[in-house]
Amino acid sequence: MAIGAPVDLTPIRDDPSLATAAHNQDFRFDPKSQERCPYAAHLRKTNPRADLDAFGGTEVRRILRRGIPFGPEVTDEEKKHNKSSNDEHLERGLLFACYQSNLFNGFQFIQTRESSYAFSPPL
């Protein structure tokens, strides 16, 4: 799965050598600091990693993301006007789909108790 160099390992500039499968998951966050990655960043909210070590960890929250993006590439007309079209045939989006063994611990928890909860991750 292509991701890129983790911001938590190289916050100031891109480092393509860390974008490989061997390294792009090699970060845990420092629960005491948001200097390298904000606590509220999307990827930290949805998978807090070490932020939850003192609270039972994240294993029970794992989900398998298998979303399907839809819609055509940007058309020349849209590029010219710098604005996406309202034409329903040019609608774009993501059919988000995920798998988990327990909905309450997985998607529902991540969406309601992490992403939509101002006090998450716990500090």
């Binding site: 200097e35 108790r113 992490e114 909860y117 991750p121």
Partner: protein, 75 residues
């Protein structure tokens, strides 16, 4: 919002805020702190939704008919 599931935050701990991409609050607007490492208390406000949700559904996988007729049928 209901009772927090986590212990209460320490007195001087920042309140992270909502996920700017998918966070859902009482209104469309979301706020977060921490986007500026030199001024981590500065709030960043997002007045409109980034993701416009059109609906959702939960499914069994395998389906209930498949569970009944194949995976969990009594022999």
């Amino acid at each position: 919002m209901n009772a927090p599931t986590f212990p209460p935050a320490k007195a001087d701990a920042p309140i992270p805020g909502l996920d700017p991409l998918i966070g859902q609050g009482a209104a469309a607007a979301r706020e977060m702190v921490g986007s500026d490492p030199k001024a981590t208390a500065n709030e960043l406000k997002f007045p409109t939704e980034f993701v416009v949700s059109r609906g959702g559904e939960y499914f069994f996988s395998p389906s209930i008919p498949a569970l009944k007729t194949h995976f969990a049928k009594s022999t």
